[in-house]
């Protein structure tokens, strides 16, 4: 009975979350006295997983799986779990993994807990701590089924290196035609831009920036930090920025290391979406803006004056620290 992770890759290369999952699973495996197996789909070189404590890789290579397909991928993970006799399956919180997780859980008659933020509180009974109520509370959930599926919240654990000897095995799960009834016709992906999902830093703008023509100063700040840009709901409703950049309760959730809010007052719905970010900085001309109550660092002042200067300071900082 090992622990199974689904190590996600894109274009053959592992995503950072794959290593975060491995780090997490390694710790859980230690407390259960077992080892970690990873299942991969069309990943070219899997050896990197040995830096994070994975002992065995089940490599699936199949051109039908080039596009993500939740049902087919869930079948892959399910069959890998059955082959390994895995009792705990650890998944990430990417859009794709959250899509397949409930299908895996139903397929294995396993209980499922999402948004897990720490190592299990206890392994017998199996209890995990997860966020609930839009990050306004935590809830300890007990999973009582024999097989358990958990998904780990973004950036909640981090990377822990631990080298291991790795065996690779080709794995050919049985896929049915019915797995491919949901067909991807086209994919639109912004290239060369840091996405909100992958970013360690997000720089976000609100109505305080007064108009879409002023986004340049925000983008420059984002570029020096290697950050993704985002916006508040009013900004996307006004059409200043695309909906894909809207973060908040009904937009994209953000759980990043650093979130910088510029000209965003901090409506409760906005905060609900970004509150699991580790460090929050607010720049706003209104000292009474509610965002100051939830932020770690703040500057009261004019964004048009501050942003270019801050960008310059950060450039100097990066230059002297690289």
């Amino acid at each position: 009975m090992s622990l199974l992770i689904y190590a996600e890759s894109a274009d053959g290369k592992f995503k950072k979350v794959a290593f975060e999952l491995a780090s997490y699973a390694k710790k859980v495996a230690e407390s259960l006295g077992t080892t970690v197996t990873a299942v991969t789909v069309n990943a070219s070189d899997v050896s990197e997983l040995s830096n994070y404590g994975v002992n065995k890789v089940l490599k699936v290579t199949n051109s039908k799986l080039d596009n993500f397909n939740a049902k087919a991928y869930a079948d892959v993970v399910k069959q890998a779990a059955q082959k390994e006799g895995a009792k705990v399956i650890v998944l990430s919180s990417t859009t794709d993994s959250l899509y397949l997780a409930p299908l895996v859980a139903v397929g294995l008659e396993a209980g499922f807990a999402s948004n897990v933020v720490e190592l299990p509180v206890s392994t017998s009974p199996f209890q995990v701590k997860r966020t609930a109520f839009s990050n306004k509370a935590f809830n300890i959930t007990e999973i009582s089924t024999d097989v358990k599926v958990i998904s780990i919240g973004k950036n909640s654990f981090g990377l822990v290196e631990s080298s291991s000897s790795l065996t690779e095995e080709d794995f050919t799960p049985t896929l049915n035609d019915a797995d491919f009834n949901v067909k991807v016709e086209s994919v639109e992906k912004s290239t060369g831009k840091v996405t909100i999902a992958d970013a360690d830093v997000v720089v976000s703008g609100g109505r305080g920036l007064k108009g879409p023509e002023n986004w340049g100063i925000l983008e420059e700040l984002a570029s020096v930090l290697g950050a993704a840009t985002a916006c508040s709901k009013p900004v996307s409703d006004l059409g200043w920025r695309p909906h894909s950049e809207h973060v908040g309760q009904t937009g994209k959730p953000v759980a990043t290391n650093l979130y910088i809010a510029v000209g965003i007052s901090g409506a409760i719905q906005h905060i609900a979406g970004i509150n699991s970010s580790k460090v929050k900085v607010v720049i706003n001309s209104d000292a009474e803006a509610p965002f100051f109550k939830v932020a770690d660092y703040g500057i009261v002042g004019d964004a048009f004056d501050i942003l270019p200067k801050l960008t310059q300071k950060l450039k100097e900082f990066k230059a002297s620290n690289s």
């Binding site: 939740a70 869930a74 990417t94 859009t95 794709d96 959250l98 899509y99 997780a101 409930p102 299908l103 139903v106 397929g107 209980g111 499922f112 999402s114 948004n115 609930a132 109520f133 839009s134 990050n135 306004k136 509370a137 935590f138 809830n139 300890i140 959930t141 007990e142 009582s144 009834n181 949901v182 067909k183 991807v184 016709e185 086209s186 994919v187 639109e188 992906k189 909100i196 999902a197 830093v201 709901k233 409703d237 909906h243 009904t250 650093l258 409760i268 580790k278 460090v279 100051f292 939830v294 770690d296 660092y297 703040g298 500057i299 009261v300 002042g301 004019d302 004056d305 801050l310 620290n321």
Partner: protein, 248 residues
Amino acid sequence: MKILVCISHVPDTTSKINFVNGDSEFDNNGVQYVINPNDEFGLTRAIWFQEQQGANVTVVNVGGADTEPTLRKALAIGANEAIRVNAAATDGFFVAKQLAEVVKSGNYDLVICGKESLDYNGGMVPGMLAGLLNYNFVNSCTDLKVDGTSAKASREIDGGKEVIAASLPLVIGGQKGLVEEKDLRIPNMRGIMTARTKALTVLEPVSASVETKAVKFEKPAPKSAVKLFSADDLDGLVNALHNEAKVI
């Protein structure tokens, strides 16, 4: 086309979140309940199908009698009928199992759920429901069109979107984009009056195994006050981000 819209009855975002009985239960006291926002986008899209394509829309909720005002609101917005499965929504699997029974007995072509509820944020009911029914499934759905028995949907992915084709019957986990915020409807007086006479059927639950249980709740540790820097002290901010917060 018969559409089933699954709705959760959740505390309004502005509600104070507190717990009682040794932090084992949510404190309902003074809490205002609403239709879960992700479900409301789906409901509004369903009403669009009703008005434009003659679809019949049923709303369903798994919950006690106290959740009926939420179903009545959905009827006032325009749903044709409502079903309440008379049981506390104990966990995602339990709810999915109840909904699967409702779908099977009602022969729905399209099942619209919100991708996650704003109370437990489990995000599992739509997928589990699709898995139990073995129906096609699109999660994080931001656009949906139906022509006969074929559907075209957009799915939000990390960094972009996908266009997906699937045939009915179909389960979707919906979100903003299905309709926009400005398209959401506030029930008018006529809607509220007719909602009173629309059918609200109460069904008893089927048995389902207990898979997960929320045993305890915790509130985040109180946050320390914001550290302010003056607009002339940007070095102070950069320094704090580097040495104290260690994020740059």
